[in-house]
């Protein structure tokens, strides 16, 4: 039998250990603070231009995390402000929302499409202060035309088949922020582009895999009616117009046997209607047009090597030839895990590429000179994706 004395000593020793451990652990709950903004100095003083004051960047945030955030890069002060929404709008319950999907500036207002919060958030473009929100279910992208904002939505009015409702384009009055009209389009519409008096909508049909949609919907803006669906390719995503009124439409393929492709839609001589004129044999995840050049990148998963094959190319929009297979020329592409967004400074031609890394940690924004050399990079929120330049 062990003596009571030793028992007591050991007991006291453990009690002390528990107490010390407890002391180390007694960090108590405090009031939850409004999510603060962080500031970084942009290295190498970005050139101040007369046209562009800066840009907003939307970080999508992983689904269910409610971590859609907005950053603002201010060229005039040389500061990069991370996560500005909550600090400027502290009284908004549960902040900006879940999964940002697009951003656009029209007039004095900034529009952020928050997909899984089913709303378009409208802010003052200069101050970032909230003006209001427009509730649109499963909203995707925003474009503007003659005083109205147009928002694509995966969910249109439930008509014949409630299990596979067609998507819709919602028309929002930019003054009253009220939905004024909506029109049914194809399945799960993504990006749109407005050329002349027509809007062209890329339909993905992503909810219907493997029976993807393969059309671009044409909407006549005067009476807001779908007048045509142009067959293009399966699972369409991006639409960009160039200065020759051609439309560049990307197909994501089926991620399996049918690869991603880039299509060009144009008017054939003597016709008013758009049709596919060229198929560029490259994969395309996202693109940006400047002058006669189309910058694109593509991420393709290779099952065999268990890695992504990533390409960064330039296409001459007149010859429709790939003129460069790597617009990043200094080797920085090796640092990028998943390119997720691309934008080109309208004045300097600097190329911005975002890296979403593993989707669940901070991303990185890279700024490249027009000749593809890295100028600077900065930490962003989770899944940096969409950029809107703020005019001076």
């Amino acid at each position: 039998m062990i003596s009571p004395h030793i028992t007591r000593t050991i007991f006291l020793y453990f009690l002390t250990l528990l107490a010390v451990a407890g002391k180390g652990a007694t960090s108590c709950r405090e009031d939850e603070l409004v999510v603060p903004t962080e500031y970084d100095i942009i290295p190498g003083n970005p050139p101040v231009t007369s046209v562009i004051r800066g840009f907003y960047l939307v970080n999508e945030g992983n689904m269910g995390s409610n971590k859609c955030t907005v950053d603002f890069c201010d060229f005039t002060t040389g500061l990069y402000a991370r996560n500005i929404y909550a600090e400027r709008n502290p009284d908004v319950i549960k902040e900006l929302g879940d999964v940002g999907n697009d951003i656009g500036i029209y007039g004095s207002k900034l529009y952020i499409v928050v997909n899984c919060s089913h709303k378009v958030e409208v802010l003052d473009a200069r101050s970032g202060i909230r003006i209001g929100q427009v509730d649109i279910p499963n909203c995707r992208y925003v474009r503007f035309y003659r005083g109205k904002a147009y928002v694509s939505s995966y969910v249109g009015p439930v008509l014949i088949d409630p299990d596979a409702p067609k998507g819709a384009i919602f028309e929002v009055d930019t003054a009253s922020l009220a939905v004024t009209r909506r029109v049914s389009v194809g399945y799960q519409p993504e990006e749109m582009e407005i050329v002349g008096d027509y809007m062209y909508v890329a339909n993905s049909g992503g909810y219907r895999a493997p029976a993807y949609d393969n059309t671009v919907s044409v909407i006549q803006m005067i009476d807001f009616k779908q007048v045509e669906q142009i067959p293009v390719g399966i699972n369409l995503h991006r639409v960009k117009q160039d200065r020759y009124r051609q439309l560049w439409v990307s197909s994501r393929g089926d991620y399996n046997t049918r690869p991603s492709r880039l299509y060009v839609l144009g008017r054939k001589p003597g016709y008013n209607r758009y049709a596919v004129t060229d198929t560029i044999p490259v994969a395309c995840s996202n693109m940006a047009v400047r002058g006669d050049s189309l910058f694109y990148y593509a991420t393709e998963w290779n099952d065999y090597t268990s890695s992504n094959t990533i390409s960064y190319g330039i296409i001459d929009i007149r010859s429709k030839q790939v003129v460069s297979t790597n617009f990043i020329t200094d080797g920085t592409e090796r640092e990028i895990t998943i390119p997720y967004g691309i934008a080109i400074h309208p004045e300097t031609g600097d190329i911005f590429v975002t890296d979403a890394r593993n989707y669940v940690s901070s991303g990185t924004l890279y700024c490249f000179s027009p000749d593809g050399k890295k100028k600077w990079s900065v930490r962003t929120g989770d899944i940096p994706a969409h950029i809107a330049f703020l005019p001076e």
Binding site: R29, G64, K67, N308, Y359
Partner: protein
């Protein structure tokens, strides 16, 4: 009748013999279920924590998952509410490394490798044990040597006094969230050697509870403060369990049929502008299992068989989102034979062979239909030299997956050894014990990891874990003021390699699974349990546990979360339970503390999650009318009404109540 008495005495003496030297932190049980009555009860060489009997029933727990929060080294992921999913993670190695054994046979889920312990109520549970590494028993199925950590759930076994032929118990619980939970148990002695029990339960709750989100600005002014009611968290579930137990000469057999049926709403994350979702899940889990043990001379055999069918029907009816209506069906067949030979009184050998077949069918586009054939072979040995005890085991696992209409991935074979040792440094008593173990284990990629539409990667390899543990235990029983005392401290180092993580491919949340991660885990578990008898009929027990964990991601220096603490693992966590009983009255106070964590891999302020700590109190009174025993129990959970999330955006209930009435004859 005489035989029963004899067995009862054997039980009692074996239990006492075990308790004197066991490093379990539990109060010794009065009657112990002993699988092999003739053999000497082996002493625990392996760190174990146990909660049982009344102590377990008084812990203000809705489910097994709630009770497991009182074990050190355990983190429970709780999505909130009665129907919310609850999974456990032992020593930061990941939920999939935790084996959950229900009455001797492991529960499986080949689809996602995770057992929702929220589905298991405490109604019929007699004891819960947690072993780091494996159980200190070499006579066990090969599978039991495989997990990195194991939870053993033991249901109540009928124990009849000489003049008894039946027991019956009925209980009803009601409380907050419109909870109604009646249950019943009948135990029958069919013959001196055979008894049966039937246990049934129904649980229903709207899952509607108030939760609150509040923020202030740095100046202390209120930014927002909102209270809402959790929606779509309802549950309606039934459990029926029937057992047949028998004893034979130098052996025994058990047979069980189990059925669980539930319909649940999935409340989902609370995000801006979304307060209600449309997801629902219907689960049917059924299994039948049998076991047979017999000792012939120095040879003992333990054989198990199981057939299980799991059906999950998942529907997303949210008209803003993609419509989903998927049906998953899993089947499992399991056969195990464990055999032990006692070569000398101090040296035993065992060999076990298990076969398991799993299949999954999903009516989902692009989901392969896999069949998995697992063959497991283990050999183990145990030596008991009095003050020094040791065990060594080796497990070889062979896995073959077959896909219908597709090429099958390569077969996997893994060998995982383990060594355990304990030593009593004191010559005159066994009160103090030093122990150590080293174990390798792995987890197979699940069917979801491998074959889920678009996301699965059939080229995955098993995820591997190496555990090293050293510990010290002190236990002492006496008749004075301090009746019993158990103290233990363990330090451990775990390394997780080839961790299966989601990796992005392409745009918009397209993922695949890769063997990419590497995690370095170092921790300390401390437990203390003391029983006091301050005066007369007043008894007090104090149980405390503290865990320190540093679990860092060491995958690649290029990651911006390199050497950061992994998500949802606090550095500090602990619990304390104080129980006072005086005659028929009992008061229980329990406190749980989970320190600051990060909700994503990067340890930055945007991912910071505050500590949470809750106090639960219960008061019970026992009554006896003639031969009818009754108990009334009132519980208050989250007494201080803390507003907290265990998982980001899944708010937990504020203060809530429960009343239980139990009648037993």
């Amino acid at each position: 009748m005489k035989r029963i008495t004899l067995i009862t005495i054997l039980f009692a003496s074996a239990a006492t013999a075990g308790a004197a030297t066991a490093d379990s932190i539990a109060i010794p049980e009065q009657l112990h279920e002993i699988t092999v009555t003739s053999r000497r009860k082996p002493v625990e060489v392996i760190p174990v924590q146990t909660l049982s009997g009344d102590e377990l029933q008084r812990l203000n727990s809705n489910s097994i998952a709630d009770a497991l929060r009182y074990f050190s080294g355990v983190q429970v992921k709780d999505y909130g509410g009665v129907g919310g999913i609850k999974t456990v993670n032992i020593r930061s190695m990941g939920t999939n490394h935790t084996g959950v054994v229900y009455d001797g046979v492991e529960l499986g889920n080949a689809q996602n490798g995770q057992i929702d312990l929220g589905q298991f109520s405490l109604d019929n549970i007699e004891a819960l044990s947690l072993y780091n590494g494996q159980k200190s028993e070499i006579l066990q199925p090969a599978k039991d040597f495989g997990s990195a950590g194991s939870i053993y759930i033991r249901t109540r076994t009928p124990q009849f006094a000489a003049d008894e032929s039946y027991h019956a118990r009925a209980a009803v619980r009601f409380g907050s969230f419109d909870l109604l939970n009646p249950s019943a148990l009948v135990e029958l002695r069919l013959s001196p050697r055979v008894n049966a029990s039937l246990s049934a339960e129904w649980i229903t709750s709207t899952g509607r509870y108030k939760f609150r989100y509040r923020r202030v600005n740095p100046a202390g002014e209120l930014a927002y403060d909102t209270t809402a009611v959790r929606q779509n968290g309802d549950i309606n579930a039934t459990r029926i369990e029937a057992n047949l137990n028998g004893s034979i000469n130098m052996g025994e057999w058990h047979f069980k049929v189990y059925n669980y049926n539930s319909e649940r709403g999935v409340p989902g994350a609370i995000v801006n502008n979304v307060w209600r979702r449309g997801e629902r899940i219907w689960d049917t889990n059924s299994f039948a299992q049998g076991s047979f043990t017999k000792t012939v001379g120095s040879f003992t055999t333990l054989n198990n068989i199981k057939y299980a069918f799991y059906r999950t029907h998942y529907v997303n009816n949210d008209d803003k989102q993609i419509k989903i209506d998927n049906l998953y069906r899993q089947r499992e067949f399991y056969l195990s034979s464990a055999n032990e030979l006692a070569l000398t009184p101090w040296w035993r050998l065992s060999a076990s062979y298990d076969f398991q077949w799993n299949t999954l069918s999903a009516d989902m586009y692009g989901f392969a239909k896999p069949d998995r054939y697992s063959n497991l072979l283990s050999v183990a040995t145990a030596v008991d030299l009095g003050r020094f005890k040791a065990q060594a085991s080796g497990l070889a696992t062979f896995i073959h997956d077959r896909l219908r209409g597709q090429q099958s991935p390569a077969d996997k074979h893994v060998f995982t050894p383990a060594i355990y040792a304990s030593f009593s440094p004191l010559r005159r008593s066994r009160d103090l014990q030093l122990r150590a173990f080293v174990k390798r284990s792995f987890r197979m990629p699940t069917f979801n990891d491998l074959y889920y539409a678009d996301m699965g990667n059939s080229r995955l390899s098993p995820e591997r874990v190496t555990q090293c543990n050293v510990g010290i235990v002190y236990s002492h029983d006496s008749r004075g003021f301090v009746r019993s005392l158990r103290l233990s401290a363990d330090a451990y180092y775990n390394l997780v390699k080839n961790k299966i993580v989601a990796y992005p491919k392409g745009q918009q949340f397209r993922w695949t699974m890769l063997n990419l991660g590497k995690v370095d885990i170092r921790g300390i578990d401390i437990t203390a349990l003391a029983g006091f008898n301050p005066a007369g009929d007043l008894y007090a027990t104090i149980r405390g546990q503290y865990t320190y964990q540093r679990a860092i991601d060491i995958t690649s220096p290029a990651d911006n979360y390199y050497r950061h603490q992994i998500p949802y693992i606090p550095h500090h966590s602990g619990s304390a339970v104080l129980n006072l009983s005086w005659r028929q009255w009992n008061v229980n106070y329990s406190f749980i503390y989970v320190g600051a964590r990060y909700n994503q891999q990067e340890n930055i302020r945007y991912n910071y999650t505050q500590p949470w700590y809750t106090s639960d109190v219960s008061l019970s009174r026992d009554f006896t009318f003639n031969k009818v025993r009754c108990r009334a129990l009132v519980e208050v959970n989250n007494l201080l009404s803390q507003d907290y999330d265990v998982i980001l955006n899944y708010p937990m209930p504020k203060r809530n109540f429960r009343i239980s009435l139990t009648v037993e004859i």
